[in-house]
Symmetry: C2
Subunit: 454 residues, 2 copies
């Protein structure tokens, strides 16, 4: 039986497989805990929004290797001396571990694990690359979308960017993450179908250009879509186009501006539509928009009811990669638990299984987070990591995208005002490590130093 | 029969489907020609490298709508008044058009069509979004990889970036495009399997950290992979790690530096390995590298044999979106051919079916390109667009990735030296429009102005 390539175990970096083979061949039978987190905020971000968990869990539940895939691996020179046991292991491979994670839409900060996975070390390595790719990407997009939707100040924002996404599948996943970050819909029909996201869109410049003239193009479209037509008015001349529509006496649902001076044109269009008695015809704007453009349009007094945002959201173009990493924090061999930390080149990885504890002010505003050990207990704090998979089985329902989006909007509103601002120069949200965790780090540092002296 | 979701027709923007419905309902029976091109170079790019054609043609050959997908569309409010004819059309939908394109690996410039498609206008609209997403992304990655491999000056460059790609599928396609841009391999096993790309990778920090100590970690790995072990030496202290390996007397294939002062460390490591008589043990470097870092490492005298490059290649992080667009240039209705152009907001789209003519100096260096009409003839020029699909059937073999990479390397070498430099401030490569094309543009401009006056 050939597995769905969506869940192929080959979706990994080669070193995960060589390490897995190494662990098997040396009978290194450890249960490992890895945590997924970022070391620092990307440029112009004061917070991040967790997303991509559903796709990560789908993969963990279904990952396998087909016979043909294993035959491919057997032919690789690097595995030339590896015995058959490793390939038999891959043939039976499935993920059997436990996972804790922040629900999608959770606002989080550097150093905080957003996912913690405990599994036989071979399994934990093989799934690393997929987990990182899934969570890195959607988290980056949801975090960007949260900024854009905040700039829009309650006006509708539709994700429009598939054509500029990093491939079609990236566009579909970006649409999903954009909704978590507060977008109300997408132009991507596959994303609408797969995830139940509302889909938007009416006509492109090519519709106008294909017709004998603009008026004919508008009339034909209104005939077919009398209740849904959002007419694109910037193909030749915005004001002339709006005058033609008004002269026709055919009220569209809205008009869309995709180029030019959006502030001046939207003010003129709004006024002209109102004069015509068309107060409920909406003005929609698109064309290389992002949070800064939207904020300045609105500050200038643009009269825009909704925004279509493409490239900026689907590529997070000002910060197009997120440094989510996956670090070993603990191993358990024959019942003996050992913490793992890393100290090289100014990068410290805290050891041990962790939890994130969030404290709030009495009025609901977030006060500070504490990264502590999983077994710690802070009675007044909310625990951000919750169990989502046990023994390889999902123990939570799939993410409800509306709920994830509401979680994000609610948590964004509870952030200190400077942190949720768009400036990117706010004093950082206060996050500290618990005393117990700092103690464990010191202990581990001393152990590594002792080992280095031997 | 459910089609492969890879080829689902829902992978499009909603407005493509509303326009298609509009054309069907109004019996607008045109054969349209669209061209795919960029208006301007992204920041820090002097040229671009065409890639993604194979995935675009795979889609065109296989795209269809399942019954379940059509049922989903029927439920969308926007299609509430659309008759059954449109859904019957979708049920039988297949792409029947003709396509001309530049072979993958071709170096090209703004304004030059890299793909020209002629098809019934409904088909041409429905496939637009996928074509753009496929070609935009891989072209952007191949163009970035061409810069990185140029900086490496013949040293091996391996694409390492899946975990930072915009989702797993994006990582697989980035690996493919990176090879077109001159990378010799990838860490992504699925990309190796799917596209026959050499795969690379040995061990991560987690392997070192999971073992009792570094020496034990190295020894175990060398036992399993005596001929392939590239040992990661920066987990704790680079020089101490290299001393341990030499003291063990176990020669690895190579060592990898992933952090720290790569120049100083690589010089020290090279010297120490040579002293040990290990001249053929290679030094491999990774860790947030890009073309600038590689160029400065080599300028500083770093002794590095190969580079692993991740984020910079798979996200094209300094220019993470490419503005490839898809513009209507001609329609044919009842045998009458009409050119289409667009003049709004300083953006001009040249009308008519085009060809790109490339002229070379007698010594092989590229001299200049002329964008002309498809029927023009410049005897000394090479024609960059060739027919790849006729009547919906592919008429060229699938891209041979090695050949595409060689094409890119060969064409890059034939560029004027300032254009292939990494500075991004070169005088632009000379590209002009033919007199016939300029004439057609003028004609079309007059036609639009006349129409506007009516």
């Amino acid at each position: 039986m050939t597995p769905n390539p969506k869940y192929s175990g080959l979706q990994t970096d080669l070193y995960e497989l060589t390490m897995a083979a190494g662990y098997l061949e040396t009978s290194f039978d450890a249960r490992a805990t890895f945590e997924l987190f970022v070391r620092s905020l990307p440029a112009r971000r004061n917070y991040l929004v967790a997303a991509g968990l559903d796709q990560a869990l789908d993969f963990l539940e279904n990952v396998q290797f087909s016979g043909e895939e294993i035959a491919y691996l057997r032919k690789q020179p690097v595995f030339g001396r590896i015995g058959g046991g490793f390939f038999e292991y891959l043939a039976k491979f499935h993920f059997s571990g436990d996972v804790w994670a922040m629900p999608e839409g959770t606002v989080f900060f550097p150093g905080e694990p957003i996912l913690r996975l405990t599994a036989p070390i071979m399994e934990a390595q093989i799934v690393e690359t997929f987990l990182l790719a899934a969570i890195n990407f959607q988290t980056m997009i949801a975090s960007k979308a949260a900024r854009v939707t905040q700039a829009a100040g309650g006006r509708i924002v539709i994700e429009f960017g598939t054509r500029r996404a990093h491939g079609m599948e990236s566009g579909v996943l970006a649409a999903r993450a954009a909704v978590i970050g507060g977008c109300q819909g997408t132009s991507n029909v596959a994303a609408g179908h797969r995830f139940g996201i509302p889909i938007y869109g009416t006509q492109a410049h090519s519709w106008i250009m294909a017709h004998e003239n603009e008026e004919e193009a508008f009339r034909q479209f209104l005939d077919i879509f009398p209740d849904h037509a959002v007419l694109l008015v910037d193909t030749y001349d915005v004001r002339a186009a709006v005058e033609k529509i008004i002269a026709m006496g055919r009220k569209p649902r809205g008009v869309r501006l995709d180029s030019g001076d959006l502030t001046a044109d939207s003010v003129w269009v709004r006024q002209r539509l109102d004069q015509a008695g068309w107060q409920n015809v909406t003005v929609f704007a698109s064309g290389d928009l992002d949070e800064d453009r939207i904020a300045s349009l609105l500050a200038e007094g643009a009269r825009i009811d909704g925004f279509g945002v493409g490239t900026a959201i689907v590529t997070s173009n000002d910060s197009p990669a997120l440094g989510v990493i996956y670090k070993l924090v603990e191993t358990e061999i024959d019942g003996e638990v050992r913490s793992a930390a890393k100290f090289s080149a100014k990068k410290v990885t805290y050891p041990g299984k962790k939890q994130v504890f969030r404290f709030s002010h009495p009025d609901g505003r977030f006060a500070n987070d504490v990264i502590g050990l999983a077994e710690e207990n802070f009675p007044r704090a909310e625990l951000l990591l919750t169990p989502v998979m046990a023994g390889g089985n999902r123990i939570v329902p799939r993410t409800d995208l509306n709920a994830a989006s509401e979680r994000c909007m609610e948590q964004r509103a509870r952030l200190p005002a400077p942190v949720r601002s768009l400036s990117g120069e706010a004093a950082p949200y206060p996050v500290r490590h618990s005393e117990k965790l700092e103690g464990l780090l010191d202990e581990e540092r001393r152990r590594v130093e002792r080992a280095a002296r031997i």
